[in-house]
């Protein structure tokens, strides 16, 4: 297992470097420079600024310098907030984003699993159909629509929850619902299908033939086997969550990483674009590794080299 993870980390590093390079060149294709919009600057000032940040160098030289700095752990400084380290900016922005992402993921997964299990156990009943209607709505309505509707009804009309901003738990509720809706819907649908599949397996009949109660059959024999495919979709789901967060943070004016990311693209703040992109990619790569490790834990057939079988 240790050797397997070691190998995976090396390939993760390579993936990471490829992403860094691609992002760098794609970013260079963006029209304009960071200083274009600042009408107050004179021609000479712009040349001076470009010189200062090395933007007059040929692109390959810029790339080489950036990668050199990146490998030594230096993400550079922001163009917009002069002199502030990109890593510092990410550091202070990560809090709300991570909190929101994790809360949505945990809440969404738990509710999704619960709904999926109930729907499968009460197959073809009112509960089943009701759950699936919720799931279809959750998948088909974009989260910014849900967010807008909630802001209007819960925030403005009924004044139950704060409309926007980031100042305590009450402020997290609406963004969490908006982000978690897709998680709930996706997981509920998958879990229902997988539960129905597993409930028809021979080993479930074996478990029943042992005289186990239906609760024991479901908890010990069905859920674990049904959740194996769920782990597969967790990877893409987490990525969807990250991109979902970008929009939601914007809507709810949450001072998170996503909001910074969107703004950095609008203002051509190259080091921030690079920094946040690389941060998101790293997160994604790590999530994929975790998913694969989870597989091995939950499904003994996939336990990798090192163990027996």
């Amino acid at each position: 297992m240790g050797r397997y993870i070691g190998g995976r980390i090396i390939s993760m590093l390579i993936t990471f470097l490829i992403i860094a390079s691609l992002t760098f060149f794609l970013m260079k294709l963006l029209p304009g420079t960071p200083f274009n919009n600042q009408d107050k600057l004179t021609e000479t000032q712009i040349v001076q600024l470009n010189d200062k940040y090395g933007l007059n160098d040929p692109v390959p030289v810029q790339y080489f310098n950036y990668m050199k700095n990146l490998l030594s752990g230096d993400l550079g400084v922001s163009f917009q907030q002069d002199g502030r380290e990109v890593s510092t900016i990410i550091g202070e922005r990560i809090g709300p984003s991570a909190y929101l992402g994790l809360q949505s993921l945990v809440v969404g997964t738990i509710i999704g699993l619960f709904l999926g299990i109930i729907a499968a156990l009460k197959h073809n009943s009112f509960l089943d159909y009701g759950t699936m209607v919720i799931a279809v709505l959750g998948i088909s309505i974009p989260n910014f629509v849900i967010a807008g509707l909630m802001q209007y009804w819960l925030g403005v009309k009924w004044q139950l929850l704060p409309v926007a901003y980031w100042d305590g738990f009450a402020y997290t509720i609406m963004p969490t619902i908006a982000i978690a809706s897709i998680v709930v819907a996706t997981i509920a649908r998958f879990m229902r299908t997988e539960m129905l599949e597993v409930l028809g397996q021979d080993y479930i009949t074996t478990a029943k033939a042992k005289g186990l109660s239906s609760t024991a059959v479901v908890i010990r024999h069905t859920i674990r086997n049904a959740s194996i495919p769920i782990i597969t979709i967790m990877g893409p789901l987490v990525v969807g969550l990250m991109t979902g967060t970008l929009v939601i943070e914007q809507i709810f004016v949450i001072p998170g990483l996503g909001e910074k990311f969107v703004n950095s693209i609008l203002t051509n703040d190259f080091p921030i674009i690079m920094g946040t992109t690389l941060f998101f990619s790293l997160l994604f790569i790590v999530v994929i590794l975790l998913v694969d490790i989870m597989y091995g834990i939950i499904d003994p057939r996939i336990r990798l080299a090192g163990g027996k079988g």
């Binding site: 074996t206 029943k208 005289g211 079988g309």
Partner: protein, 356 residues
Amino acid sequence: MEKILEVNDLHVSFDTFAGEVQAVRGVNFHLNKGETLAIVGESGSGKSVTSKAVMRLIPNPPGRIKEGEIKFGDRDLAQLSEKEMQKIRGSEISMIFQDPMTSLNPTMTIGKQIMEGLVKHQNMSKSEAKERAIELLKLVGIPNAEGRINEFPHQFSGGMRQRVVIAIALACNPRVLIADEPTTALDVTIQAQILELLNDLQEKMGTSIIFITHDLGVVANIADRVAVMYAGKIVETGTVDEIFYNPQHPYTWGLLGSMPSLDSTDEELIAIPGSPPDLLDPPKGDAFAPRNPYAMKIDTEMEPPLFKISDTHYAATWLLHEKAPKVEPPAAIKKRMQGMAPSEPIIGAKDGGKNV
């Protein structure tokens, strides 16, 4: 002999979109203490449904026990609540399934799968259950039981898995073991070992066995009595010798004729023409009549009752009626009936090796 299980007039139906499928249509049989009853028949004859009905494992909906009783001691299993059935399943009546590759939970160690029943029915502590599980694995012939108890099903071969399945079934010393085609999914040499194991265990533990199979070769090795099922009914029942050497029902003749045997190289195998009736709309009269070369007019109009041949031997065919014309069974069957060359079936459990 003491009857341990008695099934009377059992009807099982499945409600489908097309209508009611009458899978089992009035089955009667009993199981004596310590004996092995084989239920044979082709696919769709209702043998598996019958056995699942005894365990009350028919999924409902769509399946249901329409009528009849399943007497086990002084209880009628057909009437028990699910909770009461859970106490009987696995402890007094156990079941072995057809395909060992799919009948074990892939994400649970085999030790845990054996221990579950022990903890549930015999209130054993975990360590007691583990000890017993190791004992059981040894009993069913799994080498290095202490080491293998923590392994997962995928680490075992098919034959070994079926041994594990048997260990699970026998964990609580059940009085009745229902084996639903336990050797069908295994290759022939492993089949022989599993049959030998079942024979052995029955001797040691005194369990009564209902053995479901479509393979008459297996029957000869393991059964004391045989019930032949066709289209949801038992058409002939008798001791192994009676069924093999004095079969009376044309369907039994067909089954025996279609069984290859080592000493009949000069004969062709006889196939039973046609296919079983649609149980969505069971035919009037004898269900076997359309495929029966000996069918008479009455077969299409009235169902034959069970005619008694001896105290243990009954068959449901009008050919046994006193007014029926005498017919000659097929040559191969006649040879059997005359006691000529009682053939050893190809699958000889008695000669099977001990190790997988």
